[in-house]
């Protein structure tokens, strides 16, 4: 079934080839990288805040800068107020020094307008998904932190575990 017509073809017969798909994908990647390459100075504070907040919320002091850029761009695209909100969240967390495990309940209890922020940020880093419902977009997959966190035991689904039968052994 490795036919060349890798599209949801409109008509039977020769369909546009896989190159079109690859071009489309490449364009998507380029689009997501360009803004970070020409980042506006006005953005710098928000980007710093995003990284600082993400390090605390994910419990990972070291996060990939390119991945951060891609997630940040997607979050901005999903919610234009994100840049201001993430800086406000950083200030809140700096001032209150709240243990991350208490953060959500604190924001909820105070009915903070920032209450949705930590979930969106952690979801982006761990699952690679930004946005809800029809606005949801998959920004990363293989490097999403949920896969990185278990990489010594499991591969992301759709990537072969190993040679035939390698899964019979006790995970170690």
């Amino acid at each position: 079934m490795d036919e060349p017509n890798a599209s949801l073809g409109g008509h039977d017969g020769p369909d546009p080839d896989r190159r079109g798909v690859l071009i489309g994908l490449t364009a998507t990647y380029l689009f997501s990288y360009v803004p970070s390459a020409i980042a506006q100075p006005a953005d710098a504070g928000a980007r710093d805040a995003f990284m600082a907040v993400a390090q605390i919320l994910t419990g990972r002091p070291s996060l990939d800068a390119d991945q951060a850029s891609r997630l940040y761009e997607a979050l901005i695209a999903d919610a234009p107020g994100f840049a201001a909100d993430v800086q406000a969240l950083r200030s809140f967390m700096d001032q209150r020094k709240i243990d991350p495990i208490q953060l959500q309940s604190t924001l909820d209890a105070e009915q903070s307008p920032l209450a949705a922020m930590p979930r969106n940020i952690v979801k982006a880093w761990y699952t690679g998904i930004v946005g809800e419902a029809e606005r949801a977009r998959c920004v990363t997959f293989e490097t999403s932190l949920m896969h990185v966190a278990v990489a010594d035991r499991l591969n992301p689904p759709s990537y072969c575990y190993g040679s035939y039968g390698s899964w019979m052994d006790q995970p170690a």
Partner: protein
Amino acid sequence: MSHELSADIVVIGSGICGSLVAERLARTGASVLILEAGPRVTRNQLVLYYRNAPRKGDWMAPYPPSRWAPHPTYEADWGSATDQDKPNVARQGSNEKGNGYLVQAGPTPYPAEYIRVVGGTTWHWAAHMWRLLPNDFRIKTLYGVGKDWPVTYDELDPYYQEGEERTGVSGAPNTGSPRTKPFPMEPVAEPWAMRRFRERLEPGGYPVVANTTARNSRAYDGRPPCCGANNCQPICPVDAQYHGGLAAASAEAAGARLLANAVVYRIEHDPAGRIAAVHYFDPDRTSHRVTGKSFVLAANGIESPKLLLMSVSDKYPTGIANGSGMVGRNLMDHPSSSLTFDAEDELWLGRGPQSPASINTFRDGPFRSEYAAFRLDFTNISQVRSAAEDLITAGVYGPEFEKQLRYRAAHQCNVKNVPEVLPHPDNRVVLSDQKDELGLPKPQVHFALGDYLHRCMEVAKREYTRIAELMGGTNLRFTPEREYANNQHIMGTVSMGDDPKDSVVDGFGRAHDHENLFIAGTGIMPTGATVNPTLTALALAFRTADQIAKT
């Protein structure tokens, strides 16, 4: 009206049953034309779609419906992974959860999923290819419930074997279905997690057995053995499991002609009641007529009855093949309850295939006169994504997130049941008054589940609890009472039987009312039993193909 096509045999639907019937008949020298409503897809495209889809837990996400041949969706519309596909993908409104294609009349929701593409729904499946038990064919006689089949297990045995050899089935002999020849392949290597279930449950009286699947345990028919990618649903990345796309390709290789994007909307008969032609729309709604000597309807358990009901005439005012009034009735599926818990052992589900093992103990017995038989099924689907999403929902952040993620990914597991639902004429597919983009009626389902099933669920819950105990389980989470997950095994709607007053086709799949119309697929199964129905549908389809070849 554009050009007319003609063939000895016209097959409607290119899923496993339609395509393999087409292949078999093409090899006899007959001219065969397959009409498929949906577009062509490729494995590479579907893997790409999966990896780009924003809902990794929604196995329909990589299969966006086409504008001209929609299939039901129940989630928000995320569009398309590629710009190239965008013009062909049917869009739904903002904030709509699903495209509303399968209209729900209730009282119980029946959110059936199927895929209208070349190759059909088995692009996306667990590849279970079970035989029924001999007693499954006689539950009316033995237990006083349901219906007896017009076919016996022994009559079907050679066709079961043919289906297993054609699609490459691996399995264990101890599942209760007798065999006259061995499986083509040994069972697929047992994942560590399933070994721990087997070792801990066996002393408690639960034999855990490898599932019977069209999944390679060695290179077979030019395809590789399983590599443990744990993505059988929504798409195996290496074709280690069989699917309808392979079946369609082999039909074409055997000489059958396959027309994609050909949406059949009417079956035409001659004055004597023989089928003369079918009519299809292309995506631009241009109509085409196709004549033939014999016709095989294999468009799945919802689309097949829909097409028969749409094909009304003065002679057949309730539709083609519907003299009994049974077209669309007796809709069945396998609704599952389940228990999720944390096992004592580190199991790390997600290594190897997704659905490797079952308990077959409850598939038959005198209790079937009182409540539904069932199979117990263990998942081996990676728990990483669902655990991560649960932790995000719970607002767990910081180092605790990863600690809990690893614990849950290692220990969380699930057992579900696959119970038999009895045929009931009020559970049915009808034509709704809503139309799709081509102006064709959307199907509407009426569905209710009775006490025969609910009593089974109470029994299953006790078994789940005992299994969790034997596994040292904690944090037991049962699915809510009377809320069941559907298994997309659409059966019964064009049921076979000996009595033309009470069934649509005979034991050979031939319509009682039209001597040159045959129906293939899970829709012709009179009862549902406790296993995934594809192999039984395929065996029946091969028996039908034999009958067509003789005429």
